[in-house]
Structures are given as structure tokens and as C-alpha cells.
């Protein structure tokens, strides 16, 4: 589903964020991306979401080469994936329902579909009773769950998350990770970057360790 072939990403100033990285994530697989700060976790996610372009190497999403994807094709690629951010990135001038419905409106779904789908997504993250609340009234964990609802509302094949539990306490973090795992169970390919090793080792999923832009544990899945 996600394949990186010999990918190098060099930022201006010759800092190498990723160096000749190879990674294959099968359809329906779930993996954690871990490593110290500056190891290249965020860069890897940005390359997959076509926010950044690799300096060398090739990237495939669903067998499609997106290494040099033209700008006008990027929106369509992103509709294929849901992205969850550490700082939620919600729109604070709109209520929860409007935030979650945004990807569906962008893709042009009918209003009835939108309402049904948004409620289903909010139900999934247990926020159905907060649909008319403004995000600023929610706790950090609730805001993150709104972000997750928005990421999954259009049933993406791929779910990417960059430090989704970065600001949350252990109890909430475990709930969020459990949520990702549930999406994975219904067939979504999930890639989560997190430095919370104790949490992710309890999840019993594959762990990809990065250090200095290189993968230090190969492609071996952890049982």
C-alpha cells in the first residue's frame, strides 16, 4: 500500500532527514514509526502525504508512483488518506460537525451522506453529543478525537498520524491508539509516528525504528 524505495530527503543546508530508506507497508497493515526527535519520522509522513518531495528514490501509494506527482493531482491523493496531527489542526471558527464534514464537502458528497457519515465518525470517537460544540470548548483529548473523526470520515484507505498522543495523558493516549487499531481492524492501512515507546510496544503491532534518517530494525514485523 505504501512503498518507499531507496528514499533520501535532503533539506537545504545539506541536512539529510532520510537516507536511502526502504519501507513497505502492506494493505491493511498497521505500523508505528518511532525514534528520537530528528530521526525523520515527520519527514517520512510528509513524503507519503506529498507535502514534501524526496531528493532521491521512489514512493508508491497503492502501486501508483507519486514521486513526481503534479500539484493538481495532490488533492485527489490526499482524499485517499486521512491525516491526524499532533496539534489537531481544527478550524476554530466552525463547530465540530462542520470540521468533521469538511473532507466530505471537499469531495462533493450529498448532504444526506454527509450528515450520516459525520455522525457515524463522531459516534466512533464517542463525540456524537458534541457535534454542535465549538472545538475551543473541548478538552485536548476530545479535540484530538475530532481530528481523528475528520481523518476517517471519508473512509480513507490510509490513515497517517504524526504524534497523535503528544499532548495527552497516558490514559487518553491509550484510548487514541486503541481507536487507530480499531480502524486497522476494518482494513485501513495505518502508519503512526510516535516516540511513546512504552505505549506502542503494548499495542503489539509492527514497529519501524528510525535513527538519523535510517531504519534500524529493517522490515521485520514485531509479533
Amino acid at each position: 500500500m505504501i512503498e518507499l524505495q531507496n528514499v533520501t530527503k535532503r533539506y537545504p543546508g545539506n541536512r539529510e532527514a532520510l537516507a536511502q530508506l526502504n519501507l513497505v507497508l502492506e494493505r491493511g497493515e498497521m505500523a508505528f514509526l518511532t525514534g528520537p526527535s530528528g530521526a525523520g519520522k515527520s519527514t517520512l509522513l510528509k513524503l507519503v502525504a506529498a507535502i514534501e518531495r524526496p531528493t532521491h528514490g521512489q514512493i508508491f501509494i497503492n502501486q501508483r508512483n507519486i514521486t513526481h506527482i503534479p500539484k493538481n493531482k495532490v488533492p485527489n491523493l490526499r482524499r485517499y488518506m486521512g491525516i491526524v496531527f499532533q496539534n489537531h489542526h481544527l478550524l476554530y471558527d466552525r463547530n465540530v460537525f462542520e470540521n468533521v464534514s469538511l473532507p466530505l464537502r471537499i469531495a462533493g458528497y450529498a448532504q444526506a451522506d454527509i450528515s450520516r457519515r459525520v455522525r457515524a465518525a463522531l459516534d466512533k470517537v464517542s463525540l456524537l453529543n458534541k457535534e454542535h460544540v465549538m472545538p475551543i470548548m473541548l478538552s485536548g483529548g476530545e479535540q484530538q478525537r475530532v481530528g481523528i473523526a475528520r481523518a476517517v470520515v471519508n473512509k480513507p484507505a490510509i490513515l497517517l498520524a504524526d504524534e497523535p498522543t503528544g499532548n495527552l495523558d497516558p490514559q487518553l493516549s491509550a484510548e487514541i491508539m486503541q481507536l487507530f487499531s480499531e480502524f486497522n481492524q476494518v482494513g485501513v492501512t495505518v502508519l503512526v509516528a510516535s516516540h511513546d515507546l512504552s505505549l506502542i510496544s503494548r499495542m503489539r503491532k509492527r514497529i519501524v525504528r528510525l535513527r538519523g534518517g535510517r531504519c534500524t530494525n529493517g522490515d521485520r514485523p514485531v509479533a
Binding site: R78, I106, Y109, A110, D113, R150, K155
Partner: protein
Amino acid sequence: MLNTRRQPKPLIRPNRSTRLYSHLRDHLRSLVFSLGKLYRQPLATTLTILMIAVALALPACMYILLDNLRAVTQKWDDSGQITLFLNLETSENDIEKLRSRATALEEIETVEYVSAEQALDEFRALSELDYLIDGLAENPLPPTLTLTPSASAKAPDTLHRLVSDFRSYPDVEHVQLDMQWLQRLQAISDVVQRAITIIGITLAISVLLVVGNSIRLDIENRRDEIEVTKLIGATNRFIRRPFLYGGMWYGLLGGVIALLLVFTVLLVIEQPAQRLVTLYNSEFELIFPDFWQGLGLVTTSIALGVSGSWLAVGRHIARIEPS
């Protein structure tokens, strides 16, 4: 805590008609949303709209006033008469011949004869210089024929040809065309119209820049939001839409206020203008912009608003990329 029992129905890609319908719905939503945005920043919005209104009202007022001036002088055109001053010695007989000759011309509608005696009497009545006039040995005033050209002969070329024809008549001492100052006035109003056009274009450009700048600031303020929507698959077109509608609202509101300003100015000057024109012995009614002119002003304003925001939006939004 987490509800996994209820699996939502699978989501089917919207088909073409659904997409068209939701596209229209999204336009409507952007329309309302962008108005709401303006409403939530009342000070900035008011300033921008007033700048647009003043910039448009100024040339519009000048244009309407010029229109009024034209209408007034058009009426005065009717008095474009030709006066023939005859030789003092011309006999009554010759005058009568000349008179019938002029009447016969199809370019001439009426001929009015004022004899030397009548002219002296008129002068006496007007000047109150009786003792001076009584002291004159003979009447110094010539008999005159005043010719009013027919409507079809009002063109300057025709009038000038008539004037040179009359000059060649033996008994005619001098021909005076009562037109020159009107022509000058018309020439002046042509120059003024050019000037107004140039001022109008300059101010239209400033409206473009004002709207463009407001929208650019708005985009800058919502940079984060734009990045987020791009991350969830929004096209540039989708992001552009509310900003373009924002420009439209600026244009619409600015245009309507400009129209109100124009009417206010006209109402304020209506009475003094009427008095002025009455002093020139002329009928006058101030012409206000009609429905179509008003619509034209507002439409122009909307077009400027949309183009201004298009200028700002075009490059700016494409340049904002999530990082």
C-alpha cells in the same frame, strides 16, 4: 466506551449529478460564509467598503453632472440663430425681397424682421439713454433679419455654409452666428468627459487594489486554515471560492453605497443648480441616474470586487502549501 458495533454503510463515491448538486450547495455556502466573515470584522469591512464607494461615487457624480450639462446645452442649441445685419441704406423693397428669399430656403424655418426704427426703440427702452439717442442726427442701428434654422439644418457644417452664403448677399453687412460659444462649451465638455474617463479608470484600478489588498490580508490571516484544508484534499479552486465571494460582497456593498452617495450629492445640488439655470432663462430638471445606470454602477463595482480578489487569490493561494 468506544462504539464499534455500528458499522456505517459503505460510502459510495458521489456520482456526477451529486457532485454538481453539492457543488452548487458549496457555492451557496461560500456566499453566506464569506458575508458572515465580513460581518465579523465590521471595522475593516466598513473601511474597505467606504473606500470602494467613494472611489466609484466620485467619477459617477462627475459623469451624471456632465450628462446634465449636456442636456441643458442641448436645449440651448435650439436658439442657434443667424442674425443678418443689413446695410443702413437698404430700401424697404430690397429688404422685403431678401426676406422672402430667406423664407424660401428650406434650411430656414422662420424669419423675423426688425427695422432700424424698431431697433432704436428697443435700444431706447433698454438703455434709458434717451437724451443721448435724441441727440443723434440719424439712426445708427441697422435693420436686421433674425433667421431660425429648421431642425434638419442644425448641423454645424450646414450652419456655416448658410452663413457664408448670406455673406455674399449684396445688402448684408454682417452675419452673426449665435453658436460659437455653444460649440466652445461642447468642446470643453468633451475635454471634461475625457478627463472623467481617465479619473474613472484610475479610481477603478484603485478599487481593484483596495479589494485585492483586503483579500490578501484575509488570506494571510487564514493561512493555517488554508493549509489544513489543503491537507485534507481541498483543491485550490475550493479554497479560492469564499475569497472570491468575499470580493463580490465588497463590490456589491461598495457599489450600493456609491449609488446612495451619488443620489445624496444630486439631491444636495438640485436646488442651487435649478436656480442657476433659471438665471439663464432655461427650463431645467436635474437628471438623476436611471435604473440601468444604477445597475451599471453596481455591476461594475461587483466586477471590480471579484477581479480584485481574483488578482490577490490567484497566486497567493497556490503559494500556501502545508509544511
